[in-house]
Symmetry: C2
Subunit: 136 residues, 2 copies
Amino acid sequence: MSESKTVSLAEQMRRGELFSTQCPSREILKHVTSQWGVLVLVALMGGTHRFSELRRKVGGVSEKMLAQTLQYLERDGFVCRVSFPVVPPHVEYSLTPLGRDIGLKVEALADWIESNLPSIMSVQATADQEVVEQQA
Amino acid sequence: MSESKTVSLAEQMRRGELFSTQCPSREILKHVTSQWGVLVLVALMGGTHRFSELRRKVGGVSEKMLAQTLQYLERDGFVCRVSFPVVPPHVEYSLTPLGRDIGLKVEALADWIESNLPSIMSVQATADQEVVEQQA
DNA sequence: CAGTATCCTCATTGATACTG
DNA sequence: CAGTATCAATGAGGATACTG
């Protein structure tokens, strides 16, 4: 597990370099695992959506953050943006093959949490109770 | 976190409520998918670590953020903290069964990104090139 | 060693207003 | 409808100092 200070870019891209500050994966990971990134990916796993549809579906997201999130995901090659030159404007967002692939992973994570929420919340309750007992 | 809204807790826990602002999953998701949460979980998938070991392994993390991240993950029931009453202090962090379960999902996501990084970066390069062409 | 406490900064985010 | 622009506020995060 020893590494030298002078690692090449190719070397950085190899598996296990995730822990390095310079690893490009860190940026991608941030886009994908961001608060709105996760929700947008999961939403788009359900099919193509228009901008306003996404805005309504993803509770609490602002126009600005939705636009920014979509731009990141599009630039990373996960989201496909199709603009129809009509009045009023009509834009559709969908997942690319790459996006569906990673969407599967993100969805698995989100689903796991939703499914195990009862367990987690009961653990939290126990932990909080112990804290109260210690303070008493 | 007090309830007493119009939506019952049982209702909130149902699948698909992830898009709701009030869904408790949102908080868990934030802890797990946070910048340092992801890296700590992946690191602990490799086995038990001490605080300073984690600090060295996870590049760029500050003491404060590492401590905070570990506290969140411990409270959510993903991380187990064992403190040995010796001088100097000795504390070991490991994953609970619940933590290993979700760690698997997070690791899958991180691994996918590392494996597909070349594809993603080439897509990015193409996208950036198109932007340049449009501006010209 | 393994933290906590404090202060401080700057990036992320939200609200609002405006545009093609 | 689908954004962009601008500004303000929040809070994530870092640096430092201190403690059990």
